[in-house]
Subunit: 305 residues, 6 copies
């Protein structure tokens, strides 16, 4: 087994790599490394190595459907290639890794292009946490010449909202930052809400940074459109089979370093946003109702299942 | 004019005194001091001094109906006393100040007694921010032998939830602390919500720490009873006359010290909770629907108007 | 202590007397008997007897505010009469008992008269369980020449809906009976819902036969007016002081005689209907919003508190 | 019987007098005329004349609680005056008529003053139909130096929205007019809604121009405050006693002159707005929850009942 | 025509066979019998016999899409087989019957496996009526080592909830039984709701035992997940074409044997649950939003249309 | 370029042709004319002509997806035909035009047949504006022997509801016409709502005559089924790519001819109905949830994308 796989899994586990997209890239690169260094002699041996790599990578963190789908696809390509020589199989790993990364990049561009059209001139966009897909979309809207403002929450406990705020300022966008608790007071000023996603379930629900579900409810209460931007491959096929999407629980220290001893500090990283609060999922296939996500997956990425 | 009034107003303005109750006490004590040191020669002069003191105290902070009602009542007592001698009038200030403080204390006890009955054994109470009336109520429930847990939010930006958490721990109550954004995820574990109030409007809405309105909505979404505990004198008579309750906006530094220059950081201290989300206001008159608050005031404190 | 009081309390406890009104009447008659047979020599002794009687009667069943208010009022009349002679005091018991019963009867008539006006010609009234106040109202509407239909639920576990159905048929009203679970299917056919009450809380909620809360929700879902008919004295003053209205839990045998041994059969007799689902409380003071009930009580029956 | 009463009743019936306020004034003036021309010899005769006048005026139109309350009050003043001479009684009619008109005017001013405070600078006010109380309020806000816009519906079938639009333009207010069906599309642009009232029921519901109930629902859907401005004496005491507020149905010709013969054209003039959609009733007693209206009436105008 | 078909149809009509699954099995077996005993000489004659059998079976009961889909599929297989000999065609009936039954069994297992994952440890499952698919799922969860409780309604009029209760007890599950009307009071104790289905419409609505729609509404009110477990072939293709799913109305005697003569007793066996209240349909294809059911059918069972 | 295309585009622009279906037919006929008169010499030239024609027709009006899809399909057929001769290509235009018109007609019939089954005997259908697809459906229901009533709104500003009313009367249907504002008052009398559509978006929302969104909300409030009837080709593929459906804004004169000069009269022709208020879209594929529309399009008309 290539060392690269263990190293990648380790870095993912220790959160040295973060963000669904970055985690997926790290895993893909580890598979590429494995293919480059493999000492397998036969197709069978090579497939066994890949299978072990999959196990290690899958075990590295809980809520990472994009990474898992990437690994699934690459191994699937190898299996279906019909090649026998390890050499040839390694090349399939390499070429399908490149292909996956290219598609990922293309999806991001495509989502930005589609989503940017939803930003009307002189509108106010509300967002939560930091999502590179969301900020890419907003930067596209800016490039398209749209004038708009952004309201972002600070996003406790790790203040990712500050990253969003800085990126918006660097684009020259008028930006307001508020504490998470003030979302309801400022929702009335917003014209629409756009957030990212960590995972999408077979029911059409979206897993994203803790607080997203509340913001969706607040948007619903104030009759404001709420959009989720996401590559379709954040869909988690395990939810089809009944598994609950696991909600990672992180260190209490993020919330209160030096909290009193008997105090229970709970720190779930994500929450669930019900499909009924989501106007549309903006993905590489266009804007679709969350209710249709699993059928779209079936049509476009049937190998996921 | 007694120096004490200006000093008290200053301390209130600079937030050296905080909490509706403490602010009211500071103002009352200032009036007492004024009565003690007055150089007024006639009833007319004395009343003018009181009137000036009222102006100074009222101007010290925006959302303080309890303090204002205290000052209103004391001056009202003086005016209605029929006394002519400054001496006698000063005594009225002093005795009605004592009376007001005594009543305030009695209200707090009464609210604790009533509210504690709402805590069923083995239940989980959700609260937000820190309210001494709420923690007194919970300590009463504890003294009554109830076993219960508390979930409290950290309450950004100034983390008053940590004060609540510490008080609960010191009572021996099992306590969980979460970031504000996690309220929706933990609402399902709660049996009821209890929060304090800074002001009550004539429409029956409640002004309280930023985030309260969201928590009320979340309680409503999950069909959990939501109670506000409040002395009735937090009712703001100016809202009867059409004034909006002013929402104090505090320093951006509380939210992000050293924020990027062009970033707009908004920091409203309070928000509005709609009466429809409030199951009951627990006050010295018992548990009442928020819709009835102004009529109860009319019946019990007609001098407020 | 007169034997009559113990006997009455016993009969109430054993459910030989049922219905808020009948229970109140039984208690009143017991007080009258006590007054007739008292061996008290002094005012003090007589008052002590009354006080003991109150204790016994209050302990006989949990959710009976009308009976409690009746007892409260009669004893209150005695205390306030200023009389000293036991003879005279006994007469006060007797006269105020008569007065209470007369008022109760008048309330019922008044409610029927008011409520009957809400029945439009050719309308369909949905009701749940059996309430003599409701059926009296419907009989008044019939006497007023209104043509209407009634849909009634069977009201498990003890089928009181069948009593309602029979009374309606005997009035010549076209009547449909359904199982409780079919309420949602038939709500679309109804024009309004009218139910009785066992107790009203200080928050304006109504305690009534199990299932009432669901029917109120169903009426709300289908935008049908939902009325509660109730004498105001079903208001429970203990709820003002924070007490939860106790929900009597009755024998599992009512639900399933001979149920399997380890099966837990729960049989609460009542549930709570939120004030927000109640269009109006039809009482002797007219049709009022449930939110105003406690203030109306304060105005009309201040001795309750 | 003075001819003036019949003439006034006739003009009201034929809609030559319109608007709750104008109808009330016409009736009051008719009573004044009656008092001036009476040929009654005794108190009894005079009271009989008044009683007949009341009958005639009440019968002139269905939904006119303000007029009815005016007549009620004036006759009540006469009855309570204790005077015996017809001369003196006539003077009571005259003086109480003046008093009523003066109070009515004062209420209007008071409402304008209170309500104008609810118009924030740079806000957009949505209104429906034409109400002189509403436009007076808006003109007060303008005089107070507020900058605001108005969106008004055309208000089919008789286009009263055009009157509102013209008045707003004459005040120099930026005004937008839309068809009634476009209310939902423009609600998102509004900051608050203000409408008038024709009647208020004991349940706290408001009867106003057809379409008001829908606009209240739309405001609720979009989380916008919805205010009703109304003199408290538009409260209809008959609703306390169970009467439904009658909804006047006007000529089909208003809707479609020359409609096909078999077509049923329905033209109700008013509809009912549920109390739950009303943030506050702005009346001479301040801003109150609609749930409290009947208790406020009890406190301030007990003679209404 | 084989006697077996008439017999089966008769038994279905008389409710001697009950439950969607059992009815389907009975019909399939009847077709098998027909194939075994056929006297048809030609393909044409045999197909005619099958067609008649379909007519008879379809007419036997109203709401049985699973049975109809089974019959449709078997005949479809015969038609598409391209065989000419009656012998060979009869074999197709026989083999596709076996296949259908095998698939049905596999679906049930698959549903149990998927659904069991939704039962978290120490959770409380609420169910209504008796569904063998639901109890199989719960038994699977038990086998998987989950600890959970069940609350079940008695399910008037025929008390199928008692069957569920007994099955749960025999599994060693802590079980509570309540009257249907108590569902709202106990919903707060539940963590999720799982029910079966009799039919699914093209709109994504679910037809199930009377009362299911109410329970779904109650789950929605209390923000509890509501799952329907169902084989996809309970989808009724007639609803695509506009037909309403027929709601069988059963004998009044089930509700009240010996009801008064003029009393109308209505006894619909099913009601409709709106797709918006259903978190997911747990079927052999996984957990899917009800909105997607018809598209999944199109993908997986296109012959249904 | 054939003159016919410019003429058709002109007539569409000037609203001389109206209604999605008529506009589509006009465009198709223009393409047919172009094919008949073309002076193109080569396939390339011919395709260029078609492409120009597309540009001109698409530019003629904003919200016309049916016309656009028709043009798209015909050109697509030409491109895919593989023919080279202009003659042959022109024939493809002609034959596919006929085919499209035939399919359009068939869809209308199919929709009528399906939708008519939703009209139960003795029911009341509520509709808004005039849609030939809706009235065709109702006429089919009438032919099927159903007895039903229709309530229709007048549909300001151009009173298309009067056309609906006349058509209904000519069918012998009992018809009631109301002003748009009265929809909420009459919704309680309706059993279901059926309206047409101008466009369907990828999110599953429906664009239709201004006011439709409000009526959908009112139907939802009163728990009445709300159906949209529409050919699937009213789906607008541009919305998949993020474009907002353009809402045509028409002349203020339609609303108020001779409005005061400074008055802003806004006159949007359409509004958006959220998918959540739509029970089903009745289309040529049956009754489907709006959430599934884009997937059904993908399955049936993949060339649209």
């Amino acid at each position: 087994m290539a060392q690269a796989v263990r190293v990648a899994a380790d870095r993912i586990r220790k959160l040295e790599v973060q963000g669904a997209r970055n985690v997926a890239i790290a895993a893909i690169k580890a598979l590429e490394a494995l293919a480059g260094e493999t000492s397998a002699k036969t197709r069978k041996e090579f497939l066994k190595e890949l299978s072990e790599a999959r196990g290690i990578l899958f075990a590295s963190r809980e809520t990472e459907p994009l990474m898992r789908n990437a690994v699934r696809w690459i191994i699937n390509q190898v299996e279906q290639s019909g090649r026998e020589k390890v050499n040839a199989l390694a090349k399939v790993v390499s070429s399908s890794s490149s292909q996956f990364l290219k598609n990922l990049e293309a999806s991001k561009e495509c989502i930005a292009e589609i989503g940017a059209k939803r930003i009307r001139d002189n509108s106010v966009v509300f967002t939560h946490c930091h999502s590179s897909t969301v900020t890419h979309l907003l930067s596209k809207a800016k490039k398209d010449g749209k004038t708009f403002e952004v309201i972002c929450t600070e996003t406790r406990p790790v203040f990712q909202g500050r990253i969003t705020a800085k990126e918006m300022l660097s684009l020259g966008v008028k930006t307001t930052l508020i504490v998470d608790s003030a979302a309801r007071s400022f929702m009335r000023n917003a014209d629409l809400v756009i957030v990212g996603a960590d995972a999408i379930t077979s029911e059409g629900n979206v897993i994203n940074k803790i607080g997203t579900g509340t913001i969706a409810l607040l948007a619903h209460e104030a009759r404001k459109p709420f959009y989720v931007v996401s590559e379709l491959l954040k869909f988690d096929p395990a939810t089809v089979c009944g598994d609950y999407e696991k909600i990672e629980e992180r260190s209490p220290d993020e919330v209160w370093k030096g909290a009193p001893e008997r105090l229970i500090v709970r720190n779930p990283a994500f929450d669930v946003t019900r499909r009924d609060f989501i106007h549309g999922v903006i993905c590489e296939e266009g804007i679709i109702p969350p209710h249709a996500v699993s059928e779209v997956i079936y049509r476009k990425y049937p190998w996921v299942f």
